[in-house]
Point group: C2
């Protein structure tokens, strides 16, 4: 598959300790699919400078867009902005436009030392607006640094969305069948081989017994329709009933 | 922090496309915390051989235990076992003990070609039992290869758990307060500095307004209790009320 690509870096010890269940990556994944950008990797790393620098530098050279979530607040463990500056080898300091946004929000020019951390922006970055609680994210090169709080992450994604150059959206047909993968695997591999422009995946589920969700995905609508019909024919030919179809959105 | 470490690799296009919300990493994170193993990284990669090989080889040299989830079923897109064999540079083929388990489960010695894929095990690996649907996972070196179906992943984790060597469990106190992070950040940094054996984190939430969850974590119980008391004193000193405390499990 070609087309634009993205990667996500989730920063946060609270995810790695199991305290918080991450949801921002799932949200971003859905948005990327909508606009035709292929998310190729998600990494969850600790609140540690070296871990963040490594992930940013590995992924920013590999994909078109990198998104980070978390670690841009006012506390001592919020080190994402400094780590991203280090990854790019640029300086970082309190920036006047970011400071002014915070001063307006808090209604005082006398912002405390901790909040002033949220106005630290690496040199050369553009701010990403945060209509919800004002403290901005930023874009440096192809790296978009955003908040970890889910509501704020989502509004920042919407702020950034019009600036992203998507490809042809990937659409999908899903077929949920009450038989184990092993019953359909051989036939499905044949369908996959006959429809090279379509990605055919098979995802088992377990609910009392094993079942399978078959998914056909493609950015080529005609090819997708043909593959979906081939899956239908395959299931009829095998005598599999009770198929739940879900068409593209 | 020292002690044993782990990393998780989630394999699956369906997570990256946003169709499925991943839960196995969150489950593993909780188990690791219970048994005193520090999860340092989670990577979600595509169903692609190169992506899996790279993640396995990077992480297995970096942590004590690696766990993978997904891609060990019978279909053409299930390539995890082959990729892990490639990562270790060992051969892979149908293994008699794994084939026998599947034959007993399906009640026939005549297993179809697709199901036989689930008996492909890299040379030198030990099987990981799967009481739920029999198709085994395996351990090769420090890499534990497990199913993606959540119920099966969970039973495999329980199968593996007694073989893992944990450290002192990390316990945590949580304090949920109805004030933004910026109000407590300066004082919290002072508490953190005074309690070096305890990790003090601050996690904002947004529910109509901004609030903060303060978390103190340590494997040293006395140090943890002292830090928790210091956080309590800090909040009282600042006049912050409506604190919801959650003690260690």
């Amino acid at each position: 598959m070609s087309g634009p690509t993205a990667a996500m870096i989730v920063i946060g010890d609270e995810i790695l300790s199991g305290r918080t269940r991450e949801g921002n990556a799932h949200h971003l994944a859905g948005v990327m699919t909508e606009i035709g950008i292929r998310l190729t990797e998600i990494r969850v790393v600790a609140d540690g400078r070296d871990a963040i620098v490594e992930a940013v530098n590995t992924l920013r050279s590999r994909v078109d867009y990198v998104f980070t979530s978390g670690g841009i607040g006012p506390t001592h463990d919020d080190i994402t902005a400094d780590a991203v500056a280090a990854a790019f080898g640029v300086l970082i300091g309190v920036r006047e436009d970011a400071r002014a946004i915070l001063a307006a929000y808090y209604g005082t020019d006398d912002i405390n030392e901790a909040r002033l951390r949220m106005a630290r922006i690496p040199d050369g970055a553009d701010l990403i607006e945060n209509p919800l609680s004002q403290a901005p994210g930023f874009r440096l090169g192809n790296v978009h640094v955003m908040a970890g709080v889910p509501d704020i992450f989502k509004v920042m994604v919407e702020t950034v969305r019009p600036t992203l150059k998507g490809g042809a959206p990937v659409r999908s047909w899903a077929f949920r069948v009450p038989v184990p993968e092993g019953d359909v695997a051989v036939a499905l591999a044949q369908v996959a081989e006959a429809h090279p422009a379509v990605s055919l995946g098979s995802y088992p589920f377990y609910r009392g017994g094993l079942g399978t969700t078959l998914i056909a995905r493609s950015s080529d609508e005609a090819a997708l329709d043909a593959a979906a019909q081939a899956v239908r024919d395959m299931l009829v030919g095998m005598g599999v009933g009770n198929v739940e179809e879900t068409p593209p959105d």
